[in-house]
C-alpha cells in the first residue's frame, strides 16, 4: 500500500518546495479514526480507483491556506474566501497531477480531479467501509502544520 502513498508524499514535498517556496519536513505517520474531530479548515480530496480504491486528502488550517494563497497570488486575503479555495484547489490539483504521473504509469490506477471541502471541522465522506485512515503530518517553515490522510483498499496485497 505504501507504494500508492509515497508518490503523493513526494509530490506534496516537491510542490511545496518548488512552487510555494516553503521548506517542508515530513513527520512520522500515524493512524487515526476516520470521523474523529479535527482542527483543519480546508481539505482537498483526490479520489483513486483501479487496483487500489479510496481517497487521499490534504488538510490545512486557515492560516497556512492564507499564507499559501498570498504566496501564489501575491494578494493577502483576510479570511477563507473563494480566492483561497481556488488557490488551495490549484495547489492540490498540481500535487494530484504530479502524483498521477508516477502512479498511472506503474499501476492500474485512475486518479480523479480533486474536490475541495472547507469549513471548521468539515466532514469528509470517505468512500470506504474501513474506519481508520493513515495520517502523514507535514511541517512547513514557521512550524505550521498540515496533514495528508490516506484511506485505501487494495484489491491485491503487495
Amino acid at each position: 500500500m505504501e507504494k500508492y502513498i509515497e508518490p503523493f508524499v513526494e509530490a506534496t514535498s516537491g510542490v511545496f518546495t518548488n512552487m510555494v517556496g516553503m521548506d517542508i519536513a515530513v513527520g512520522r505517520p500515524y493512524i487515526c479514526e476516520m470521523n474523529s474531530p479535527h482542527a483543519w479548515d480546508i481539505s482537498g480530496v483526490i479520489g483513486l480507483t483501479g487496483e487500489a480504491r479510496g481517497a487521499v486528502v490534504l488538510s490545512l488550517k486557515q492560516d497556512l491556506a492564507l499564507t499559501i494563497t498570498a504566496t501564489l497570488t501575491g494578494r493577502e486575503q483576510p479570511a477563507l474566501n473563494e480566492d483561497v479555495v481556488d488557490a488551495v484547489g490549484e495547489l492540490i490539483n498540481i500535487i494530484a497531477g504530479n502524483a498521477k504521473k508516477g502512479l498511472e504509469e506503474s499501476f492500474k490506477l485512475v486518479i480523479s480531479l480533486p474536490t475541495i471541502v472547507d469549513g471548521p471541522n468539515h466532514h469528509i465522506a470517505w468512500p470506504l467501509e474501513q474506519t481508520r485512515i493513515i495520517c502523514i503530518p507535514f511541517t512547513v517553515q514557521g512550524g505550521k502544520e498540515f496533514c495528508l490522510s490516506v484511506a485505501l483498499e487494495t484489491k491485491r496485497e503487495g
Binding site: 502513498i5 493512524i31 474506519t131 493513515i134 496485497e157
Partner: protein, 649 residues
Amino acid sequence: MTSGKFFREDDPEKMDMTIRYVLLNSMIFVGCTLLVLFGIESFKEQAPLQGILDFSMAAITLVGFVLLRTPAPFIWSSGLTVLSFMGLCAFLVYTGGVQNSGVLWAYSFPLLAIFLLGIRLGSLLTALLGLFLGMVVLIPGFSPQKYEAAFAFRGIGVYLLVTLCTMVYEITKMNKDQRLLKLTASLKEERDQIAAMKDNLREALFLLDRQGTIQSQYSPILETMLGKTNLTGETFLNLLAPSLSAKERGLLEDFFAMVLEQRFDAAMLEDINPLKEFTYLPPGGASPRTLSATCSRLQRENGEAYLLCTLRDLTREVELRRQLEEEEKKRQQEMRALFEVVHVDPRIFEDFIQEMDYQFVHVNGALKNSEQDNRQTLIQVYQSVHAVKANAVILGLSDFAEKLHTLEQEIKLIQNKEEITFQDMLHLTVEIEKVYREKDTFEQLLNRIRSFSATSSQLQEEQVLVQTLERTIKKLCHELGKQATLSVGTLEHGALQQLDFRLLKEILIQLVRNALVHGIETPEERQRKGKPAAGTIFVSLEKKGDQLCCVVGDDGNGLCFERIRQQAERRGMRIEPSKERQQLLQYIFSPGFSTQDEADLHSGRGVGLSLVKDRVYATGGSIKIATEEGKGCRFYLYFPLEKNHSVAG
C-alpha cells in the same frame, strides 16, 4: 511499352493487358511508319488519292497513339487503330495494291481485330472485311481489279482459315483465363480464410526451422505476446534467453531436438515440455507474462522438418488463479480464526479486545507524539505489539499471533537500521493498520458470538484474571515441555478495583511468562534437584498501607547472575564488582535483554521485563526482586494508591 500504365501485381489480367498494350503500341508504330512510307511512294507514283488516304490513316493511327497515353479506355484507342487498319485493308483489297498483293494485307486483320477488340467486336469487323473481300474478288466489275475464280476462292478460303484459327485460339485462351481466374479466386478465398483464422486465434502459431528461426508466416499476435515486432528470422531461443537460466536453455534445446527426431511419443514429449508454463520477460522491461508453448514436428513437402509451435498467453488465467487461491486462503484463515475464537469464553475474548484497543491507543499515541524520536517510538510500539501477541498466544489465536510476530520482526528490522527513514515508518504504519483491521474482524466475530450466547454468565474480574493466567501457564507449559500450576494467594477484590485491571493483567502475564520461560526448570531437571516435577507459580495482591503490593513468584532456578553478566558484557556493559548485583538487576529490565538466544512466539527479544518496568514506573510504583539460586525468584511490585489512574487511558 505499356504507355506509362501500371497494373497491380495481383491483377489476374495483368499479363494479358500488358501484351495487348505492347502489341497495339508496336502495331501503331509499325503501321504508322509503313503508311507514311506508302504515302510518300504513292505521291511519287502520281497517285495522290492513295497518298492522301495513307497519310490520313497515319494521322488517325497517331490519334490512337495519343489516346493510348490518356486515361481514355483501351477500347477507344484500339478501336480507332483497328478501324483505320480495316479501312486501309479495304482500300488495298479494293485497289489490288502492288502486283495485286492488297489481298494479303487483309489476312493479318482477323488476328489484330480479335486480339485487340475481343472475340465479339473483332469477329464482327473481321466478318465485315471478309464480306467486302468476297465482294471484291467474286463480283466482276465491283473493283478496278479483275480476279480469276480460282484465286478468289483460295483468297476467301485462306481468309476464313485465318479467322477460324484466330477465333479458336482466342476462345481457348478465354476459357483458360476464366479457369485461371476461378482458381485464383478460390485460392485467394482459402488463403483469406486461413489468414483470418491465423490472425484471430488467441493462440499464436508459428513455424521454426531446424535452426530454431521463426518463419515468415507467424500469427500477428505473436508480436504482442513476445513484445517485439518483425520476428521473421529471429531465433526463438534467443528471444527467450533473458527469461531462461542456462540450465533451462539447455533443456529446451534438447527438447526441440527430441521433437524434431520423431522417435518419441507425443504424450511423453508433452509431459517433459519445459515451456508448459513459463515466465517470459519481454524486452524493454515490460511486466512479465506467463506463457505456455507446445511444439510438434511437421514435415513439409520439400522434405524439411519444421517445428510447429503454438504459444498461449496465460497471464490473465494465472493471475485469476492466484487471486482465487488467495481468496481461498483468506477464507480458510477466517474460518480458522472463527474456530479459535469460538473456544474462548466471550467475556475473556472481550477482555482481549479491550486490551488490544488499549494497546493500540498506546501505539497510536507513540506514533503521534512528535516530540519523541523514532527509536523511542519503536520501543513503545514493540512493547504493545508484544503484549497483544502474548495475549493472542494465550487465547490460542495462533494465526493472529503469527501475524503479530511478523510485525515484531519487522519492527526489529527497522530498529537494526543505521538510519530510520520516513519510508520505514510509513511501511510500519501501514502494517499496523492491517493488524487493526484484523482486530475489527475479531470484534465483528465477538458480536456474532454474543448474539448466540447472550445469556452466558458474566465472569468476575478475579476469575478473568485467574483464568487468563491459568491459560497462559497451560499454553506455555505445553509449548516448552514444562509442568507448572498456578497458586493464587490473597486476591483482594478491593485492591483489584483500585488498580487499572488491564494494566495489572498485562504486567502479571509478562511476569508469569517470565517465570515459566526462565525460572521453572524442565521436569527432569527438577526431579534431579529433588523438587516436584511440576513447578508452582505464586500470585497475590493485597493492600499494604497506602500501597498495593503485588507478588509474583516461582520455585524455579532463580536468577542466574552468571548468564546475565555474560550477556551484559557481550553487549559492552561495564560492570563494577562492588555494585555487580545491583547493576545486573537493573540490566534485566532494559529493553533488548534476553538470555534466550533466539526469539520465538512465546518469549525472547527481552521485551517482557522492560515492559513491566515501564508500566509500573508510569504509575509511580516500584519493583523489588528476591531471588535465591536454585530455589526461586519473587517480584514485588508496589503501586501507590493515589496516582494509579494516571496511565489508565
